[in-house]
C-alpha cells in the first residue's frame, strides 16, 4: 500500500507516525515544500536567536530512518491527478493508493497599498519567513507589525529580545482580542511596552508609501497619521493552502471539504490539519492527522474532537490560559479573583462553566477544558469554584487510568 502525504507539519507527521504504528509494511512518502521539519509555534524562537534550526524540530533527528519513511523535502506538488491516483512533482510522478493533503495555511496579506507587492513585507508562517527576518533584523531600524494576535506578539517578543524597536498596528481596541479579555490583555500590553514596544490600537491601515526600491517606508492610518518603518510583518490571519488543488477535482471553498472520516470529495484522498478549516491549533492538526491515518489504514474512525476554543500564552514568563467563551453575555454569572500575580475569571451560564481565563497561575488547570467541553454542571459542588480539582470528579478504571465521575460528584 502506497501512502503519500503532502506536508510535514503537525498533521502530516502525526499521520505518518500513526500509519507506521498500525502497519509495518506500508510504503510511506512525505512530500513537503519545507526543507526541514520544524514547529511553526516555535518560529519566533528562531528569529529571536533562542533556538537554532535543529532544535525547532518536533521529532527526533532520525525520525525518517527509524520509521522507514521516504521524504522529499523542498518539493512543490505541481498537480494532483485524482483519476489516475498520482501526484506530479518537478521531476517525478508519485503514484498513491491513499493521499493525505496536510498543506496547512498561508499568511493573508491584505490588499492595502503596496502590502502585497513591496519587497520588505513578510508573513510569519514558514521557516523561510523567520530566517529572512532574522537575517535582515540587524540592519532594520523600525519594524511595523500588522496584527496584535498571537503570531504578531510572538514575533514582536523575539524582535524586542534583539532590542529592535517594534510598533504594532491593531484594528481591535485591545491586543490578543481573540484570546483573552481586556484585563488580561492590558497586563501583557504593559509588559510589551516596558520592553520597547509601541501599540496603535483601534487603528486601520489605509495606505502605504514606498521608495524607488519598492520598499515600504511609511504606512498610513485611517486618521491620516503616517508611521515610518523599514520592515513590515503581517500577522493578520491565515487561509488554508489550497492552491495545489486547482484542477484536481477535490472540492474546496475556503478550506478543503471533508466528511467525518476526513475524506475529501475524491476517492482515496484525505485531508488533515488547518487546510480542512476544522481547527487552527497544533493539537487539532495532530488529532486530524491521526484520524485520517487510521482511515487510510481501513480503520474507520470519525474525527470528533472539534473543540478548539482554547489557548495558552506565555510572554515574559507570565503564562495565561483561556478556554471557551471569554466574552460573557448578559445572563451569565462572572466570577473574578484578583490576587498579586494572578488573575482568574470564570464565566457561568445555567450552572455550566462556559469560559475561563487564568493569568499567572496555571496550576492544575487542565480540568477546566474538560468541564467546559463536556458542559459539566458545577452548581451542586459544595466547594468554592477556586478550589475545585479532579478530586471532585474522581473516577478510576481497573487499568488505573482516571475517568470523570460527574453524577456522583454532583449528588453530594
Amino acid at each position: 500500500m502506497k501512502q503519500v502525504i503532502i506536508g510535514s507539519g503537525a498533521a502530516g507527521i502525526a499521520a505518518a507516525k500513526t500509519i507506521r504504528n498500525i502497519n509495518k509494511n506500508n510504503d510511506i512518502t512525505i512530500v513537503s515544500s519545507d526543507e526541514s521539519i520544524y514547529s511553526r509555534c516555535m518560529l519566533h524562537k528562531y528569529t529571536g536567536h533562542e533556538r537554532d534550526q535543529t532544535s525547532l524540530s518536533f521529532v527526533p533527528n532520525d525520525f525518517f530512518t527509524t520509521n522507514n519513511i521516504t521524504w522529499y523535502p523542498g518539493e512543490s506538488v505541481l498537480s494532483i491527478d485524482t483519476k489516475n491516483n498520482h501526484i506530479q512533482l518537478q521531476n517525478k510522478t508519485l503514484p498513491y493508493d491513499n493521499l493525505l493533503i496536510a498543506t496547512g495555511s498561508e499568511a493573508v496579506i491584505p490588499n492595502i497599498g503596496q502590502l502585497k507587492t513591496a519587497t520588505n513585507v513578510y508573513g510569519y508562517r514558514h521557516l523561510t519567513d523567520a530566517k529572512t527576518i532574522r537575517e535582515k533584523a540587524p540592519n532594520v531600524k523600525k519594524i511595523l507589525i500588522v496584527g496584535a494576535g498571537l503570531v504578531g506578539l510572538d514575533v514582536a517578543y523575539a524582535l524586542l529580545k534583539l532590542k529592535k524597536p517594534v510598533i504594532i498596528v491593531e484594528m481591535a481596541p485591545q491586543i490578543l482580542s481573540l484570546n483573552i479579555d481586556s484585563t488580561a490583555a492590558a497586563v501583557y500590553q504593559k509588559l510589551f511596552e516596558q520592553n520597547g514596544c509601541t501599540f496603535r490600537l483601534n487603528s486601520k491601515i489605509t495606505n502605504t508609501q514606498s521608495n524607488q526600491n519598492g520598499e515600504i517606508t511609511h504606512i498610513t492610518l485611517e486618521t491620516g497619521e503616517n508611521i515610518a518603518c523599514d520592515m513590515v510583518i503581517v500577522a493578520a490571519g491565515v487561509r488554508p493552502s489550497t492552491k495545489l488543488l486547482e484542477g484536481s477535482g477535490i472540492e474546496y471553498d475556503r478550506a478543503i471539504k471533508v466528511d467525518p472520516y476526513l475524506k475529501t470529495s475524491c476517492a482515496n484522498v484525505y485531508a488533515a490539519g488547518s487546510v480542512t478549516g476544522l481547527g487552527e491549533i497544533w493539537q487539532s492538526a495532530v488529532k486530524q492527522g491521526e484520524t485520517a491515518a487510521k482511515n487510510m489504514c481501513n480503520i474507520k474512525t470519525q474525527f470528533t474532537d472539534t473543540f478548539t476554543a482554547k489557548n495558552t500564552l506565555n510572554f515574559f514568563d507570565l503564562p495565561t490560559l483561556s478556554v471557551g467563551n471569554i466574552n460573557p453575555e448578559s445572563d451569565d454569572t462572572v466570577h473574578i479573583q484578583t490576587i498579586p500575580n494572578s488573575y482568574k475569571k470564570i464565566i457561568i451560564r445555567n450552572n455550566i462553566v462556559t469560559g475561563i481565563i487564568l493569568q499567572g497561575n496555571l496550576n492544575y488547570s487542565g480540568i477546566w477544558q474538560y468541564l467546559i467541553k463536556n458542559k459539566i454542571d458545577v452548581s451542586q459542588l459544595k466547594k468554592s469554584l477556586w478550589s475545585i480539582s479532579f478530586a471532585d470528579f474522581y473516577g478510576i478504571d481497573p487499568d488505573g487510568q482516571y475517568k470523570y465521575d460527574c453524577p456522583a460528584a454532583n449528588q453530594k
Binding site: 509555534c41 524562537k45 532544535s55 506565555n314 507570565l318 496555571l362 479532579f390 478530586a391 488505573g400 487510568q401
Partner: protein, 152 residues
C-alpha cells in the same frame, strides 16, 4: 501487547499523610541531602504528585497516569512530551520544551503544571527513571494506597 507498569491507586486507603509528596520532592531535589534537610519552601523541590480533597474532605491521590492516549503528548508542539513506545511512559524533555503550557491545559485531570518559581518548564512525573528502585512515592506510602502493577 506489551506489559507496562502503572502506579495504581486505592484512594480509600489514603489518609492524606502526603508521604508520597515528600518522597517525590526528595527524589527530585536539585541539591543532595536527606529528607531532614529538604527545603519544603524551595520551589525547585516541587512535588510531581498531590493529594487533594473533595467537598467532604475525602483524600484523593492525584498522580500522572502516563495515559494510553496522552493529551499532553498530542498537544505538545515542541516534541518535549513523548510516549515511550517500549515502556509506555510519557516522558518530558525539559531541554526541548518551549514552555507554551499547552500540555498543562490539555491534561484532563489537571495533573501537570508549570514550575512555580520560573514558569519555564513543566512539573511532571518521570516514574523516578534515574532510580533503579522505581517510584519513590510508592515506597513511601505507609498504607499501600499507591502500588505498582503490571497492566496490559
Amino acid at each position: 501487547m506489551s506489559q507496562i507498569q502503572r502506579i495504581m491507586i486505592d484512594h480509600t486507603k489514603c489518609n492524606g499523610c502526603k508521604s508520597c509528596s515528600l518522597a517525590c520532592m526528595q527524589a527530585h531535589r536539585q541539591d543532595s541531602g536527606s529528607l531532614y534537610d529538604l527545603d519544603l519552601t524551595d520551589g525547585t523541590n516541587e512535588s510531581r504528585n498531590s493529594i487533594q480533597t473533595d467537598a467532604n474532605g475525602v483524600y484523593f491521590p492525584l498522580f500522572c497516569r502516563h495515559c494510553d492516549d496522552p493529551q499532553c503528548v498530542s498537544a505538545c508542539m515542541s516534541g518535549a512530551m513523548t510516549k515511550n513506545p517500549e515502556n509506555k511512559l510519557v516522558q518530558y524533555d525539559g531541554k526541548q520544551c518551549a514552555a507554551c503550557f499547552m500540555c498543562v491545559m490539555n491534561c484532563p485531570f489537571g495533573i501537570i503544571k508549570p514550575d512555580n518559581p520560573t514558569k519555564t518548564y513543566v512539573i511532571k512525573c518521570d516514574f523516578c527513571a534515574k532510580d533503579k528502585n522505581g517510584p519513590n512515592c510508592v515506597r513511601a506510602c505507609p498504607n499501600k494506597a499507591i502500588y505498582i502493577e503490571e497492566v496490559v
